[in-house]
Symmetry: C2
Subunit: 215 residues, 2 copies
DNA sequence: CGGCAATTTGACCGGTCTCAAAGTGTGTGG
DNA sequence: CCACACACTTTGAGACCGGTCAAATTGCCG
């Protein structure tokens, strides 16, 4: 999911409104609610999740600064997922009405929106592939690399970072149990692939992890 | 994935070109190829799949008459998935150029395209959820219901139909092995939930299957 | 009708899950 | 600033689902 281009935000000036920061766990929107706006992450991070009756829930994806929240609901008008802040997070809002009005005048704006939706679709399909065909170990290695790359795109270190999700959230996102995740992390550490202290992680052997991830 | 509305096709007259039917196994496009057009299924069915080096591949979704093929590539210009006919299938093509040109003049056309992409995204996320949180049995029950509903939307019987995919393809789509699928189908039959002869299937207890599917 | 692909069935194995319990952080209120 | 409570994380033991390998059976197309 590429960042929302800065020049684009520029052209939206006057239509985008910065909201006050929210804290970890606060909800941006819930599945079933009417969707009235698009949110753009300014600082912090967020996750979207789906849930089934019965309590089972899954974190479909996570979002970093520059990413757009609420795309799933853009054209239906109703949210199909729930979006929650992962840490203290600030977003800007763009109302659906302004967006619709602007879309007519700015072909490149709607290009960008569609492009982001496109990327979300491709990401989702690849995650499907991973969950269905890879082992837990491969998925975890892939995840560590994925986070690293996305942080890298935003100018942060790709080698050493703070995990944006808790163990519970990571396990859930990868379709495994926290116990399994914990064991795998311990294993990676034992093999010298990473160092780990709480949420702080160092990728000691990117190559090794990439190879493990299996593509 | 809703069907492409008939009145919309009407308005596209002169821009949409019917292609000659292709047979089962023929490829509409491959991952990596340049994307120059959108395809709309007229008769028959198709599937899209992703693959990793190493041969592992996954069928992400399947498409029935009225569905649109190639959405994943609409804005990047390069296909990220491979699309293959499931049976003798006829599609209509709409070139990307015409589409871009038309999009300016027809706000509702781009609404529709985005809406379809939206639906594809939501479907993909839900499939993620299913693969990650449901048992093989639940996924299979859910799949049988899903096919039934999609056929129903198109005016076919929801009770009795011909499976659009082979066992291998179904298993792959659901993230399990053909052996597992075969055993589960045998089980469903033994329990009186379905009858099955080759690809012809009857859902004897929709309710039971729905309950099994778990939501 | 022959041959090959698709499907089914069986036996066994292994990766993950489940249940349980012990550690480790972390935030809040006193 | 400390201490307590509670959430998060780790570790262990055992069970089970689904995968793997192998072989028999069925079905389909030339």
């Amino acid at each position: 999911m590429a960042a929302f281009p800065a020049d684009d935000l520029e052209s939206l000036k006057g239509h985008v409104r910065a909201l006050r920061p929210v804290r970890r766990g606060d909800t941006f929107y819930r599945a079933g609610e009417a969707a009235s706006r698009l949110l753009i992450v300014h600082a912090g991070s967020a996750r979207i999740s789906l849930s089934r009756q019965g309590g089972r829930e899954m974190i479909c994806d996570y979002y970093l600064p520059g990413d757009t929240l609420g795309l799933e609901a853009l054209h239906t008008g109703t949210h199909t997922a729930t979006c929650v802040a992962l840490e203290t997070t600030q977003v800007c809002e763009l109302s659906r009405n302004s967006l619709m009005r602007l879309a007519g005048r700015h072909p490149d704006l709607r290009e960008r929106i569609c492009l982001q939706m496109n990327r979300a679709l491709v990401r989702s399909q690849h995650h499907q592939l991973d969950i269905a065909t890879k082992s837990s170990e491969q998925r975890l290695a892939g995840f560590l690399i994925d986070v690293s790359m996305r942080l890298g795109e935003r100018g942060y270190s790709t080698h050493s970072y703070r995990l944006p999700l808790t163990r519970l959230e990571i396990a859930n996102h990868l379709g495994m149990r926290t116990e399994t995740l914990s064991r795998l992390l311990a294993d990676f550490r034992r093999r010298g692939l990473i160092t780990l202290a709480g949420r702080e992680i160092d990728l000691l052997q990117r190559e090794g992890l990439s190879r493990l991830a299996g593509d």
